[in-house]
Symmetry: C2
């Protein structure tokens, strides 16, 4: 989720968490990261999201954030343990970077010669470390989000050839999303309507929780609501979201 | 806390959290990090620990860990916000490193030329980044805990001259604690006794929650219990704890 006003994710997370073992088979752990300014709240758990006490906290405690990345895991590479739960976090240029991956990069272990090393054993964290290494090499100082988008567009095709590589990346200023197989997004803005979750019998009238200036973009691997129009990504598309709007 | 068996901190944290605004004036945020193998659960909040919903979760949900670092903040440098909450986390050599600081390093901003930069504005995170930078330069590969202890003993005096620098550092394998002004520790082992918290009317019979082989070391800035014998650190002392025992 990327927004122009700090927004809570309790509604979306309620549906999303059901996919962690109840309505879907992604039961091998989960995680979520909320930026608050430059700071970060990072929660990971190797219990299924539908049973986790930490997930229960997130559902009930409305943490407000402008950039949130959440993930529920179906283990393809790497054991079910805490260090293999997404999203992963690293610091670069005095900002935290958060990364979550959906997909499988078969036999792709690019060489890591920089200062980022995986702690766990997933293909995903390895790919993230490589991405951070290459970003660090590409810019002497902190680039702006448009420059970062150009760099990512050069780097990402080197992965995407190796397997499925749908990912979310944020540094708290923007959200970058890449689809190699499937990803959908929605931009919610005034006039806000009522949305109905597809994974649980729950609806919300966003008009009651928003102001006319609010803009919220949500990017997902499968639409979370049944009565809204979600836009599919084209294969290979890398999108930039800033302040709740798609910018590139 | 450093132990030989995964142990929960609900008892100690109950007393500790009271110091975050109730029995003490450390009300400018708090944080706690639990290692589980190489993985890490990291919770930070800029609300006082005695009121935080996340602290309430920690008090009730027994997360078991062999290495835990917790901190409640009294802001001396840097605003009250999430990015300034301890403990701080960085990755080095494929391990997470967790750091919390009690004290004040006046006008001490050593040059950061490596790959670690502070995200917030505290003297503490700056010191941590410098420590990580110097550790990274001192060893080509991953050193063992004894080698790391020697390196830390060389590095730490360069800070300690600049102000008060009580800190805790862990990479999930060991806990390093340094006292420049005050720090106390206890090693609990068989036979376990009943302990009474000094900050809340609560006691626990550890014998009921432990096995004879368990060993637990707890290091604090002020003793947490009234009926146990805590050992004070000497000024300038850097201690290493492994498997619930002081090793150096």
């Amino acid at each position: 989720m990327n927004c122009n006003t700090p927004t809570d994710v309790t509604f979306s997370f309620t549906g999303f968490a059901q996919r962690g073992g109840r309505t879907d088979h992604h039961a091998d752990g989960w995680g979520i990261a909320f930026f608050e300014d430059r700071g970060l709240r990072h929660f990971v758990d190797h219990q299924p999201a539908c049973e986790s006490p930490v997930a229960e906290l997130i559902r009930r405690y409305p943490i407000k954030s402008r950039n949130v990345i959440a993930h529920i895991r179906k283990a393809t590479q790497g054991a079910v343990n805490l260090q293999n739960c997404h999203p992963f976090v690293r610091e670069l240029w005095g900002r935290y970077w958060v990364f979550a991956h959906n997909g499988d990069l078969k036999d792709f272990r690019p060489r890591l010669h920089g200062s980022f090393r995986p702690v766990g054993s997933t293909d995903s964290e390895h790919a993230f470390c490589w991405l951070m290494q290459e970003l660090a090499k590409s810019h002497a100082g902190v680039p702006n989000v448009e420059e970062l988008t150009l760099t990512l567009r050069e780097l990402v095709p080197r992965f995407a050839r190796q397997g499925s590589f749908n990912f979310m990346l944020s540094n708290g200023q923007a959200l970058w999303s890449h689809a190699s197989t499937h990803l959908w997004y929605i931009e919610r803005r005034h006039p806000f309507l009522t949305a109905e979750l597809s994974d649980e019998d729950l609806s919300i009238d966003f008009a009651q929780h928003t102001t006319p200036n609010d803009r919220v973009a949500v990017v997902v691997t499968a639409p979370l609501t049944v009565n809204e129009t979600w836009t599919p990504f084209a294969p290979g598309e890398l999108a930039l979201f800033v302040d709740g709007q798609r910018r590139a």
